[in-house]
């Protein structure tokens, strides 16, 4: 009775909505879409769980790549980190052969199960890159319907270029590591048509070229710079993290296209035409003074945690207590006298007795360089002070210059190529004598380049592509592995002529989470690498 009277007024009360969070409608304004365009790219996973570029990407995803490239090692079982880069076997100087009782490929595939997300190396990169792709699909869905103020076309085009660039980036990462994938341009949906990694790379290039064409069409630089200045977090906009002009943006695109090419063809399979394309792209790539896409640490409201949100900060510190430790094989690539080495590393022996027979190390990565003993102007790999750590998201000047060097050396312009190597060394303050003009042979020049790539591009997420295209990760019977490796035995004995047979999976299987929930349609390519 009382109730029946009360009920009519009650019904309106029921629609409480969610008063705390904005809905997609709030993203359909100029400020809203900018907030979405920025937030769905720079996205500390600590804030919302998954997706985009944050701790999970810079720490874990790039961490796997650096592990597989034998730049670092880990004894910690979280995320299967301690297993993904255990070689098939090592032969020590005295002939002792230690074998991995659970070979990498088998281990990775045991963990490629839906109930093993936490230890499935195949999962995080797939998940974060498709989340990034989906956010960009959402932006492209919304952007044309939004009423912008002022120069509407430039604003729309800037956001479109932004979206296509990040889609291009997402497909670049996916195509460079997965055996197969999905091309998906529909928001919050998917399709079961799996394509090859080469098709993913083609899709990456297509998106990059779309972005490039849009950028070329923008005339109103001031409006473009203003929108970009809102998309890139303010604390990132220091040094060469500042907003790139349209031309700089296009050069960033060219460098990423160059990487797409170089990373996905075995060195031995590169054709003259490939080298020529590479030369063309890198010649129009990132210059020493160009602004690039970076993430920078911050004291609060960060993209990644200053103390442990990226690979270098997870490596720096007492080896017994850090997530990652420095690999002896990284250290042995430094040329004697390289100031980058003396600034960033000191001796601090750590014996790993719990698996990973190549993981013991004599070296510690310093936080903020050693300012007391070897203070010099070389690049600092790790600086945990908030605001000081720079992480390159896509290409960098050094990467572009070394790709150019490689194209030059392989097209007969050895000395020009070596000059590029010298450029990089100078840029990073290596303090090494120039190698150009020293008359190095082709093989010596290639070796100089190889070592420089390992040193200069460490922690930048490209080292595994190198290890793969150089063939190092393959089985010795297929020309892989490496000799003269420095290995500190678990007993503390130092080996310098060790043979390591990595025998890693080159391109990764599609994660089970995708295959089970989105089974391949007829006509799809295989989702499992036959290797």
């Amino acid at each position: 009775m009382t109730g029946i009277i009360a009920s009519t007024s009650c019904k309106k009360e029921l629609d409480v909505k969610n008063p705390n969070y904005p809905t997609i409608d709030q993203a359909k304004t100029e400020s809203g879409i900018i907030a979405l365009a920025s937030g769905s790219v720079y996205n500390n996973s600590a804030n919302n769980g998954a997706g985009g570029l944050g701790d999970g990407y810079f720490g874990t995803v790039i961490g796997y790549h650096e592990l597989l490239a034998d730049n670092i090692a880990s004894t910690i079982a979280n995320g299967n980190l301690n297993n993904v880069n255990v070689p098939d076997y090592v032969i020590l100087d005295d002939g002792t052969k230690i074998s991995n009782p659970s070979p990498q490929k088998m281990n990775l595939r045991i963990n490629n199960a839906r109930d093993r997300i936490g230890t499935n190396m195949f999962y995080p990169e797939w998940q974060s890159m498709y989340a990034l792709n989906n956010a960009c699909n959402q932006l492209l869905d919304l952007v044309d319907g939004i009423s912008f103020s002022g120069d509407v076309d430039t604003k729309k085009n800037t956001i479109k270029a932004w979206a296509y660039w990040w889609k291009g980036f997402a497909y670049a990462r996916l195509g460079s590591v997965y055996y197969a994938g999905i091309i998906n341009n529909v928001t919050s949906s998917t399709n079961p048509n799996y394509v090859t990694s080469a098709a993913l790379i083609a899709e990456s290039n297509k998106n990059l070229q779309t972005a490039s064409a849009i950028l070329s069409s923008i005339n109103n630089t001031a409006t473009y710079m203003s929108i970009m200045g809102q998309l890139i977090p303010s604390f990132v906009q220091t040094g060469n993290g500042a907003v790139p002009t349209q031309q700089m943006f296009i050069r960033n695109i060219n460098t990423l296209e160059a990487r797409n090419l170089l990373a996905n063809i075995k060195l031995t399979d590169m054709t003259t035409a490939n080298w020529q394309t590479l030369l063309t792209l890198t010649s129009a790539g990132i210059g020493a003074n160009d602004n690039v896409f970076e993430a920078v640490s911050s004291d609060i409201n960060d993209i990644f945690n200053a103390n442990g949100g990226c690979v270098s900060s997870l490596t720096a510190g007492i080896p017994a207590t850090t997530l990652f430790t420095v690999s002896e094989r990284l250290i042995q690539e430094f040329t004697p006298g390289d100031l980058r080495f003396s600034k960033n590393f000191i001796q601090n022996e750590y014996l790993n007795q719990v698996g990973g027979f190549t993981f013991s190390t004599r070296w510690e990565l310093l936080n903020a360089g050693d300012t007391t003993v070897n203070n010099n102007n070389a690049i600092v790999f790790c600086d945990k002070t908030p605001g000081n750590q720079v992480v390159y998201i896509a290409g960098s000047y050094e990467e572009n210059e070394l790709m150019k060097a490689e194209a030059l050396i392989n097209t007969g312009k050895i000395d020009l190529g070596l000059a590029s190597v010298d450029n990089v060394r100078n840029y990073q303050g290596a303090g090494l004598a120039p190698v150009s003009g020293t008359g190095l042979s082709l093989d010596a020049a290639k070796e100089e380049l190889r070592r420089e790539r390992r040193v200069a591009l460490v922690f930048r997420g490209t080292a595994y592509y190198d290890a793969r295209r150089w063939g190092v990760i393959y089985d010795i019977s297929q020309g892989g592995g490496r000799t003269n490796a420095v290995v500190l035995g678990t007993d503390g004995v130092l080996n310098t002529k060790a043979i390591i047979n990595y025998n890693f999976l080159d391109y990764w299987d599609v994660p089970a989470d995708e295959v089970v929930l989105n089974p391949p349609a007829p006509g799809s390519v295989p989702v499992k690498n036959p290797n």
Binding site: P19, P22, N48, G317, E349, V354, G355
Partner: protein, 1075 residues
């Protein structure tokens, strides 16, 4: 409600008495007193046996009755007391002493029926517990006190931290994303902001419990987990009564199986027995307070991938040289003191009653330097009859709780991990030169070292203050004998604030050396932080009801023994939560800790959670004399949490009972002397569980990046089309009273049993979506569950004599829940057991743990039928403890495929409660037996990782060679078949243990020495000595078989012991004075 009922019966009796006036023959007078306290008892029903003629005792406990010829037996009854039949053939001035019931026979219940109903006339099962049952033993909270006392309920004390919540399961698992917690009502309204653990046990009169949908339909879309209703004490007619209770107890942590760290080790030592590093240097305490460089004596070699898998490492006595052995549990734990004090004042006259109760409960943590929880309750219950038939009642609860438990040692934070994970040679009490503690202790190779608990309590602290008020106003108007109108309005408001401080740790040299500090949000550096959590809740519950009762015989003079009662109810609930979580990072070195001192600040969460639901209940009950009855109705609910359009959801119920013992064929036979009561009952009902407040609203996620507010797409998506989860239940049961022997032994036996079966459909969970969509999960009505079980109880008066009584109760519960449908592929859930996750798969039990099984025969095959070991290689293996072990590597052989290891939930749980009364001495004890439960001993598995489990000390015989092989034990942690060291932290049946236990839950002895005082002042002076959890029998090898590390009241994460704080055992001395 009950009072009104009594009053109406009283009037009725007076009317009837008038009509008998002419037949009077003689007068009987008397007094009724309580065995409990010797006080006169007002309001006791005195009825001539076989008639409805009688009276009630007066304020002074006296009565006067004019008896007709042939009336020779009087029946004295009072709620909560044993009914007494007294022959009055001769004397006419009698003294009756009523004895409190052990339990169960709280005669009239309202929970689940909405209308006060005698238990004898219920078609559903309603359990009752009297407040006196909670009083005798040293528990701080009502829910702890309920353990073992409710047949059918599984209530477990899963964490020994002061203030920790219990896990309550009433009849199976009905949901997945939500919890198993039942709805809590206090005096008829939902308690809202006030959780059961913060209510004052001393203020409880009695508790009613309905467990399943069949009975909780009238609670509609929120009732599927059952309802626990708490009734606070009211003043009783008579003089003002003052009750003072005070107790002190001392508690220690339980370590049933003597868990300790390995006394032996197999580390590298030099010829003098001193521990050395890989360079052969003797290990010393470094300037940072740590021992670095400990290694196993034998490293990895060509045959063994790790040092720990090298069979040459054999544990032997090593500590005592440069490294000592420290008992970390002795260093971590202490004996804690707890105090309880309460004062209650109550009384009543014919038109009003009052009860005031103030109490304080103070519980220290059993972890050193780790604070306490303190709770103060003020409860008042005032009733007044304003005019005839119209009564108003006000019940107020004011609760203040304060907790200073360290944020790292609260419930569910892996409380004792530090002590378990630290190497035995680490000394928690070791200080740095400046007097501070080192945080990072010595690291074992490959292990992340335990963090020094002394560092934690030195640099962090928390204060939680919480004030809750619950005001409940009720008006009841009995218009005439047909209609009773009732309105209740309850409003509760809870305000809590938690401040957590992590001091600036930058001056601690251990911290800077190892770049390792404690913080929740400041992962950047060791400068500390201050966190402030503010949470408020306002909850309103308005219930208006009309009860229409008719009695065809009396009201309409029809010759049909039909009585009807009709309930029409409107129930409106509105909740409003607000939360503001903010933190500031970077505190100064000087000890001023507030937001102004921080270098930057951020808001982590600022949320408002409105929730509105309302519903109508219509229930019709028809009773056919004493023979039986039928009831049915429905509840229709609207809710802000329902799917699109907010359409109502309707839940029907029907129940019936029949009492064969009331039919002539029974009552006229001798059978009635043996079995005076035999009732059969059956009920069907539906009830629901609502989606979460915003589960149906898709949103973006806002966050701050730098100085900008940005949006991102949520990986876990909401779903506008969610429906309520519906649980449908059928129950059938019986209640039987058996008169035993006529002498003193087994005079009275009450049996009650119920079988129930239920199906839950549309259970909500965030099911996985293909990651290429950009998301990870979407909430869906994805799961169906089914459960069934049996609950039973027996209450037996074992022995009854003039000065001695022995009562015995046993409660039994068995239940099992399984998944019957899952939409799409298996749903993956995380639990704390090893590296594998739980899966929800149709046909399997919920809560099942999956893992690798040790091979138990050489010929074992994998799931594809391929043998693990070829017959040619049988010679390489032997059996140890029933498991296949490789003779060369000493490793236990585990499958490399996952199998369900079993359902960790108990097969049954049962309790045995005994109470003995001899004159003014009382003695009692309760045993709880939980059978067939399992725990995944993850605590032990972590200790296996680092070689510091006590098991590593134990020699094993492997094919005739006996030694404490490190490799043998390490294999249980690290190996799966064909992958030595490739199955680290794999979930293994090796660690899945039987956690059945028999526990002496409580034992007490009380002596009332008021008579000795020879004073009229004290009505009672009771001294009680009691103990809780003082004996446990179990095969479980961890600290305590009752713990669970999963989220409190999790539906699926229930069978894991991952560094949980064990329960405590305590001894209490209490004094209770009444005057």
């Amino acid at each position: 409600m009950k009072k009104n009922l009594r009053r109406s019966i009283f009037f009725l009796l007076l009317l009837l008495a008038g009509s008998f006036v002419c037949a009077q023959t003689r007068i009987v007078r008397g007094i009724v007193t309580s065995k409990d306290n010797g006080e006169p008892m007002p309001g006791v029903s005195v009825v001539v046996k076989g008639t409805s003629f009688g009276t009630e005792t007066s304020e002074q406990g006296k009565f006067l009755l004019r008896l007709t010829a042939g009336a020779n037996t009087l029946v004295f009854s009072y709620i909560g007391y044993q009914t007494v039949e007294f022959p009055v053939d001769t004397g006419n001035n009698i003294h009756i002493i009523l004895i409190p019931e052990l339990k169960q026979l709280i005669d009239v219940v309202v929970t689940g029926t909405g209308v006060a109903t005698r238990k004898a006339r219920l078609g559903i099962s309603v359990e009752t517990v009297s407040g006196t049952d909670l009083a005798e033993t040293p528990q701080g909270t009502i829910d702890e006190g309920l353990i073992g006392k409710i047949p059918g309920a599984q209530i477990s004390s899963v964490d020994g931290t002061p203030g920790a919540t219990t896990n309550i399961v009433l009849r199976g698992i009905n949901t997945v994303q939500g919890s198993t917690s039942p709805m809590i009502l206090v005096d008829g309204v939902e308690s809202g902001s006030l959780d059961i653990g913060s209510l004052d046990p001393a203020a409880v009169d009695h508790i009613e419990v309905v467990q399943g949908a069949a009975a909780s339909t009238i609670y509609g879309a929120q009732g599927a987990n059952g309802v626990i209703q708490i009734f606070t004490k009211k003043g009783q007619l008579g003089k003002t009564k003052v009750d003072i209770a005070s107790s002190v107890s001392a508690s220690t942590y339980l370590n049933i199986s003597d868990v300790h760290e390995a006394h032996l080790s197999s580390y590298a030592t030099n010829a003098n027995g001193k521990f050395i590093n890989s360079n052969g240097d003797v290990i010393t305490l470094d300037p940072y307070g740590t021992y670095q460089g400990v290694n196993w004596a034998y490293g990895a070699d060509a045959n063994n991938p790790t040092a720990m898998s090298n069979p040459l490492n054999i544990a032997h006595q090593q500590y005592g040289t440069n490294l000592k052995y420290y008992d970390h549990f002795a260093q971590l734990f202490k004996t804690a003191d707890n105090y309880n004090n309460s004062v209650a004042i109550s009384g009543a006259n014919n038109s009003s009653d009052y009860s005031f109760d103030i109490s304080n409960n103070h519980q220290e943590s059993n972890i050193r330097n780790n604070g306490y929880t303190d709770r103060t309750n003020l409860t008042t219950n005032l009733g007044i009859e304003l005019f005839k038939g119209f009564t108003v009642r006000s019940i107020t609860q004011l609760v203040y709780t304060k907790s200073t438990i360290n944020p790292f040692f609260t419930q569910g934070r892996n409380n004792i991990g530090a002590a378990i994970m630290s190497a035995p040679f680490d000394n928690f009490d070791q200080k740095l030169p400046d007097g501070t503690y080192p945080g990072v202790l010595g690291a074992l190779p490959g292990a992340d070292a335990g963090f020094n608990p002394n560092y934690v309590t030195e640099y962090s602290n928390a204060i939680v203050n919480r004030v809750t008020i619950l005001e409940n106003i009720q008006a009841d108007y009995r218009i005439n004998k047909f209609i009773d109108l009732n309105a209740k309005y309850g409003i509760s408001y809870g305000k809590g604030e938690e401040t957590v401080i992590f001091q600036n740790q930058t001056e601690n040299i251990n911290t800077t050396q190892y770049s390792s500090w404690i913080a929740f949000y400041n992962g950047n550096d060791a400068t500390g932080e201050i966190d402030n959590y503010n949470f408020n809740n306002t909850f309103q519950n308005f219930i208006a009801s009309a009860v229409i009762k008719t009695d065809f015989k009396k009201d309409f003079h029809l010759n049909a023994p039909i009585m009807t009662s009709t309930l029409i109810e409107f129930d409106h609930r509105k909740s409003y939560d607000t939360q503001l979580f903010a933190y500031g990072i970077g505190l100064p070195i000087y000890p001023i800790y507030n937001f102004q001192q921080t270098t930057s600040q951020s808001v982590f969460s600022d949320q408002k959670i409105p929730f509105v639901t309302y519903g109508y209940v219509v229930n019709q009950k028809i009773d056919f004399g004493e023979y039986g009855g039928l009831a049915g109705g429905f509840r229709s609910d609207y809710s802000s949490a329902f799917g699109e359009g907010s359409k109502p959801f309707t839940f029907p119920d029907i129940n019936a009972y029949i009492r064969p013992s009331s039919f002539n064929f029974w009552s006229k036979q001798k059978l009635t002397n043996i079995i005076p009561e035999f009732k059969l009952r059956a009920a069907y009902g539906e009830a629901g569980i609502q989606p979460g407040a915003f589960d149906r609203y898709p949103t973006l996620i806002p966050s701050n990046v730098g100085s900008s507010l940005v949006f991102s797409l949520p990986p876990a998506e909401n779903n506008a089309n969610l429906n309520v989860e519906v649980s449908k239940e059928f129950e059938a049961g019986t209640d039987i009273e058996i008169k035993g022997w006529s002498g003193s032994w087994l005079t009275d036996i009450n049996l009650s049993g119920t079988y129930w079966t239920r199906k839950s459909s549309n259970v909500i969970f965030g099911i996985s979506v293909a990651p290429s969509t950009g998301g990870t999960t979407i909430k869906t009505n994805a799961i169906d569950l089914a459960s069934h079980g049996v609950q039973a109880s027996a209450t037996i008066t074992v022995y009854r004599a003039k000065d001695f009584n022995w009562n015995f109760t046993t409660n039994f519960s068995n239940e099992t829940s399984e998944i019957t449908k899952v939409a799409g592929p298996p749903i993956i859930l995380t639990s704390g057991a090893g590296d594998t996750q739980e899966e929800l798969v149709a046909g399997r039990k919920i809560g099942q743990i999956y893992g690798y099984k040790a091979l138990t025969s050489l010929s074992e095959k994998n799931q594809e039928g391929v043998p693990y070991i070829l017959p040619a290689n049988y010679g390489q293996y032997t059996m140890v403890d029933g498991r296949v072990v490789n003779i060369a590597t000493k490793g236990i052989q585990f499958t490399n495929e996952l199998y369900p290891l079993g359902d960790p939930n108990p097969k049954f749980n049962t309790s045995f409660i005994n109470r003995f009364d001899y004159k003014t001495l009382s003695f009692g004890f309760q045993f709880d037996w939980v059978y067939g439960s399992h725990l995944y001993n993850q605590t032990k598995e972590w200790q296996y990782r680092d070689g510091i489990s006590e098991d590593y000390d134990k020699p094993v015989d492997i094919a005739g060679t006996t030694a404490a092989y490190t490799a043998y034990y390490r294999s249980a942690y690290a190996d799966v078949f064909d992958a030595r060291n490739g199955g680290r932290n794999g979930t293994k049946d090796y660690f899945y243990e039987d956690a059945s236990f028999l526990r002496l839950r409580n034992i007490y002895i009380g002596y009332d020495f008021s008579k000795l005082l020879n004073s009229k002042v004290f009505k009672r002076a009771l001294l009680t000595l009691s103990g809780r959890n003082i004996l446990t029998f179990t095969k479980y090898t961890g600290f305590d078989p009752e713990v669970s590390s999963g989220t409190s009241n999790s539906t699926f994460d229930r069978g894991v012991d991952d560094q949980s704080m064990p329960n405590i055992k305590s001894y209490q001395l209490g004094m209770n004075l009444a005057f």
